[in-house]
Symmetry: C2
Subunit: 353 residues, 2 copies
Amino acid sequence: MPRLYALVLSGGAGTRLWPRSRRARPKQFLDLVGESSLLQDTVERVSDLIPTERVFLVAPPEHRSLIHEQLPGLAADHVVVEPYPRGNAAAVALAMASLQALDPDAVVVVLPSDHVIRDRRAFRDVLLSAAAAADVGYIVTLGIEPEGPDTGFGYIEAGAPLPVAGPIPVRAVKRFIEKPGREAALRMVGAGGYYWNAGMFVWRVSVVLEAYREHLPHTAKAIEALTEALGSPRYEQVLADAWEETDRTTIDYGIAEKAANVAVVPAVIGWHDVGSWARLAEVALVGTTGGVIARDAERNFVHAPGKLVTLIGVSDLVVVDTPDALLVSARDRAEDVKAVVDGLEREGRQELL
Amino acid sequence: MPRLYALVLSGGAGTRLWPRSRRARPKQFLDLVGESSLLQDTVERVSDLIPTERVFLVAPPEHRSLIHEQLPGLAADHVVVEPYPRGNAAAVALAMASLQALDPDAVVVVLPSDHVIRDRRAFRDVLLSAAAAADVGYIVTLGIEPEGPDTGFGYIEAGAPLPVAGPIPVRAVKRFIEKPGREAALRMVGAGGYYWNAGMFVWRVSVVLEAYREHLPHTAKAIEALTEALGSPRYEQVLADAWEETDRTTIDYGIAEKAANVAVVPAVIGWHDVGSWARLAEVALVGTTGGVIARDAERNFVHAPGKLVTLIGVSDLVVVDTPDALLVSARDRAEDVKAVVDGLEREGRQELL
């Protein structure tokens, strides 16, 4: 069993969870499900395998103080700050360079911070298998067993079983499929052997840095320059210069879809994306409130912390209350909040963003 | 032209405007339409004819300080406090007794405090005609020209024209009709000569006290005992005893429907009842908010002071936000809030009432 590290991705604006998610406190810092924040849940749920001393985080500079407030046990130099967003491939590479300096044999679990995972024990088994595969040189992705023909996720087609020891059988990845149409989704779910891509990866640091050199050479070169400057007074200047040279892409597109040695661990772990109100409504139909009175009202999702919400003769709504903004949306139209936020941005309504 | 006094009725719980209307501050004290409260509007709109020195008010004891806060010019002894509610007939009789002691020739305009009247000039003309009819001995009611076959109001059937001078012709009242069914309402509106009963009356104090003696003798007797005790130290005790003896009814049922000398002044004055959210929505489709963003959203009534409200893909809703309670109701179901309030009362949720 290799020594496991976690790299938590805490970027992303969370505009589809507006008005609760705001620039100053985006979704991962909110207690949308339960009493701790999504970020805290992300770190807590792997704590059996990965103690806080081996947790790293990628985040924009403005969230530093929020992170230390919510994760007081996290060392300050474990927060890898991306000078400005360029997709997550560059930020992940930056973190990998630091990690290699610390522990050349490190195996890293990359975790988005806006997921819900209900079955912690099953997740642990999946990670153990993934770590075993990463240890022998695979770039491992977690494949969520589909619950239906969802067109909102990318899919992974699994290939042959791989000779990796672990509680869950590991398979080769045949290909990644971008968010499909309804028919293609139905076909894949019917056929079996296709999984949702949840953006979770496990790899050996040396293996992924080799993949960067092969598939994202600009990023690899920039990160090498940075590694040389690590700890020197000119580091900040080198970072500013190098950052501009990195490839503007994500680890999904830039690394996972291009690498040959990619494996998938099928995961039945009670996983839920909670990136939008409609998604959150799938997890917890009644959200955070001070109580709900419903008369002839069904399938409404309510998020109104501390407030009594009365629903009369309305169905399939998303209702989200905050001190300065209130959202009432048809559930199947809740993704439109992104367009509303874009509009507020164009109008310069900073106080609402 | 007789000297006019106003008696503003400020009872009523306003539960159909919950959660904005609360026991501690019911609807008449709220700025639901415009910037002043319904009560302030009620007094202000008759101020040309009736200065504050001649304004009286009937209210429960717990609203005394709110009344003086909102109507600082009102003399303390112009607030007629009903010890506890018994319909408004007893409270009005109590006020009439005080008024008769002050000015035996007084003509009084009785005004509910939860109405909107848009055409102030037309209302003035109606009051002048009503005062002229009251001056010659009629108990005068105002008849709102129906805007449609509304089944939520009582109706008044007008009879022959009366020989009263004034800007608007005055007619005898043939009969009062309780809230009708849809067919009866359609028939009356089609026939013409039927008016909505808005609960506004104009009468000479001596005339209405005679009507009390005839139709509500218990109330009349109790009030006579009170009049004798006026100004004496035993008044409070006499009031407590007398109040129990009064008839439990309203001026509509107890006096207007029974008296023979009732007249009606047809009124086209931009009148609106605002006793419920659905009614309020008829007056002002967009209520008090810090702005509304609507995407494929129509005919929604929003009351959320200071808050930005975003509506996506929803129609015909009533949305009412307050610091501790939020209501989202189908517009045609908004009257159900009364049942919700009853439920909260049964559960002892005092903090929300």
